[in-house]
Symmetry: C2
Subunit: 349 residues, 2 copies
Amino acid sequence: MKGIRHLAKQLNVSIGTVSKALNGRHDVNEKTRKRVLAAAAKLGYAPNQSGRSLRQGSTNAVGFMIEFSPEAAANSDNFFVGLVEGAQSALARHALDLVVLPYSTQEDSFAQLQRIVARRLVDALIISATLKVDPRIEYLSHANIPFIALGRSDSGGRHPWIDLDFEGVAESAIDRLVARGHRRIAVALPDNETNLGYVFLSSYRRALKRHGIPFAPKFVFRGPSSEAGGYRIGGELVALEQRPTAILLVYELLAMGLYRRLNEAGLSPGRDIAVIGFREGPQARFLSPTLTCFRMSLHDLGVTLGESLLATLPAFSSAYPVGTVQKIWPLQLVPGESDDFSVGRARTL
Amino acid sequence: MKGIRHLAKQLNVSIGTVSKALNGRHDVNEKTRKRVLAAAAKLGYAPNQSGRSLRQGSTNAVGFMIEFSPEAAANSDNFFVGLVEGAQSALARHALDLVVLPYSTQEDSFAQLQRIVARRLVDALIISATLKVDPRIEYLSHANIPFIALGRSDSGGRHPWIDLDFEGVAESAIDRLVARGHRRIAVALPDNETNLGYVFLSSYRRALKRHGIPFAPKFVFRGPSSEAGGYRIGGELVALEQRPTAILLVYELLAMGLYRRLNEAGLSPGRDIAVIGFREGPQARFLSPTLTCFRMSLHDLGVTLGESLLATLPAFSSAYPVGTVQKIWPLQLVPGESDDFSVGRARTL
DNA sequence: ACTGGCTTCGAAAACGTTTTCGACTATATT
DNA sequence: AATATAGTCGAAAACGTTTTCGAAGCCAGT
C-alpha cells in the first residue's frame, strides 16, 4: 500500500482525515493533525500531484514559456534568469510551483502552447517575446487560460501584460543626445516579429518629433540582435556619406559588434559617434569606453509578473485588486562614456 | 461534458475506444482511428495529463533542476540554454516533456528535490552543479528515481553522470604552457562546494606532476566565480613577489576581472602572463587579447544527457544499452592570444 | 450448421487524492 | 432530562484517463 492510504493505516485514521489534516481544514482535531503532520514528515509523504490535480481540477503550477534555441544560446544574456527567480519567489509564497517550459523556435512555441493548454499541464502561463500579432494571445484568451504576457501586443482584446518602458527609454536617450547637440540620431532594431521593434520605433519617432527633428528612414537599421548584427550595422554606418552622430541600440550585444567595427574603421564610440545601448547586460558592461545604457531590476520585474498573474487566477483574485494588469516597467539611465561628448567635438573624417 | 467523454459522445463510440485510437493501440479499426484523430484535431482535444498520469503512474515528463538565483543572474552565461535545448530535443523524440525546475539556493535545491520526488511531479531528473558530497544523489538513489547528474560526485554508489573532461583540459593546457617554457603555473578555482573545483585541482596537480613540476599551494587561488573574483585574483597575483608566469581559470568571467586588474597594474595578458580560460563563453569572447580557452557543444551535451537519462527509464531501457552511464565530455582547445608567448619573452617588472 | 479464430468494440475497474455529507460524541442550553 | 450545538471523524463519490477482459460480429474451414 502506498501514499495516503499507507499513512492513514499507520495512524489508524481514515484517508479523508489525513487529507484534511494536511490541507489545514478545520474539521480535524488539533492533536490528530499534529500526529498526521509528524508521520508525514517522518515518512516523507507528500500528496501525489496527479491525484491531487485530477481531483481539484488544477495543477498548482504555473508555466513560464521561454525560448531555448541555439541562437538564444549564442546570444543569450541573463534576462530570464532574474525573471524566473523573481516570479518563482512570488508564486512560492502562495504555494504555487513555477515550471519553465522551453521551446525551440517561434513556430514550436505555438504548438507547445496548444499541447500545454490542452493537456492542462499548468493552471496559468507567462509568455514572453510577444509578437506584434501573436496567435498565442488569441488562443489563450479564447481558451480562457489565465496568462500574462511579457510585452504588449496588438492581438487579442484586453489581456494582461507588462512591458518595458520603451517610450521613456527613447525619450530620455534622445533628450540627452539632443541636449548635446545631436540631430542626426540613428536607431538599430531587431529584424524579427517581436513587438519590441515596432514599439521602440514609434517611441523613437515620437521623441524626435518632440524636438522637431524630421524622421529619416535611412537612419533606421534592422538586423539580427547579435554581435554580428552590430558589426554589420557598424559597417553600414561607416559607409554612409552623411553619418549620424549618434545611435540607439535595442540590444546590448549590438554594441559589442558595433564597437568592433567602428574600431576597425578608426572610429571611436564616445568620440566620433555617440552610442546608447538599451538594456544593461552581462556582456556590454565590460566595454570600453563604458556604454551608456538603461538599467532595470529583473528580479523585481519577475516578482511583478508573478503577482500580476496571481491576480488573474480565480482562486486568488479576491486577494488582489481587480482589473486587467497592463503595466509599463521603468528603467533608469546609467550614464557611461559612450555618449559623453557634444556634437561640436565630433571629428570629421 | 468535457474531455474524452465529449469526444466519444460526438463520435458515438466509447471513451475506451477513443483512448485506444489516440494511443495507437491495435485493437481499433483503422477507420474509426481516423475519425477519432480527425475529431480530436478539430476539437483541439488532448488527454488531460493529470488523469493520464494518475492512471499510468508516470507523468511523461522529466525535470531539469537548475539554479536561478540573483548571483546566477549576475554571473550567468548561456551554459544551460544549450543544455536544455539539446536535452529537450532528445526527449521530445520519445514523447517526453522537459520541464525546467528552478531553485534559488543550494539548500533550497534539496528541499525542492524532496517535494518534487514526493509529489511525483516528474518521472526522472537531471541535476546539475553536483557537489563533492551531494545529498541529492543519496536521496534519489534511495528513492529509486531515475536521474542523471551533470558532474561526478563522491556521493552514492554507482549513479549515472556526465562530467566535463577536466583532466584533459588541465593536461592540454599545461602541456601547452610547459612547451612554451612555463614552470610557474597558477590555477583559479571556485570557492563553493561543487565537485568541479576538487576534480580540477587534482587534474591540475597530476598534469604538473607529469612534467616534474612541484605543486605550490600558493599558486592555487580560490574565490567567487565572478568578474569581481577575477579582479581580486589579479590583485593577489600582482602583489606576489614571485609571480607565476601563467594562470588557468576555471570560469570565463574570472578572465574579465583578471584582465582589468592586470591592465590597471600595467601588465598585459599574453605578454606578461599567460592566461588560459576554461570554457568558452559569451563574455570572454570579446576580450582583447583573445582568450585561449576550451570549446564544447552545449547542444550535444544536452542531447547526450537526455539520451543517457532515457536509458535509465524502465520504459525505454530495452531500447538502450544497459549499464550505468558515466561519461567524460571532451572539449577542444581554442587557441587565442592570451597565452601566445614563451616564458623567455616575459617582462620582469 | 457448427466451431474456431480474428477483429473490433464497450463496460468497468483502477490510479490517489479531495471534498461532501452524514454520523457520532461530548458539551452546552433549555 | 431532553434537546440543540459544536467538534471530530469516516464512507463514498468524483476527477479523466488507460487498460483489462469479455462480448459481439464476421469469416473460413470443416
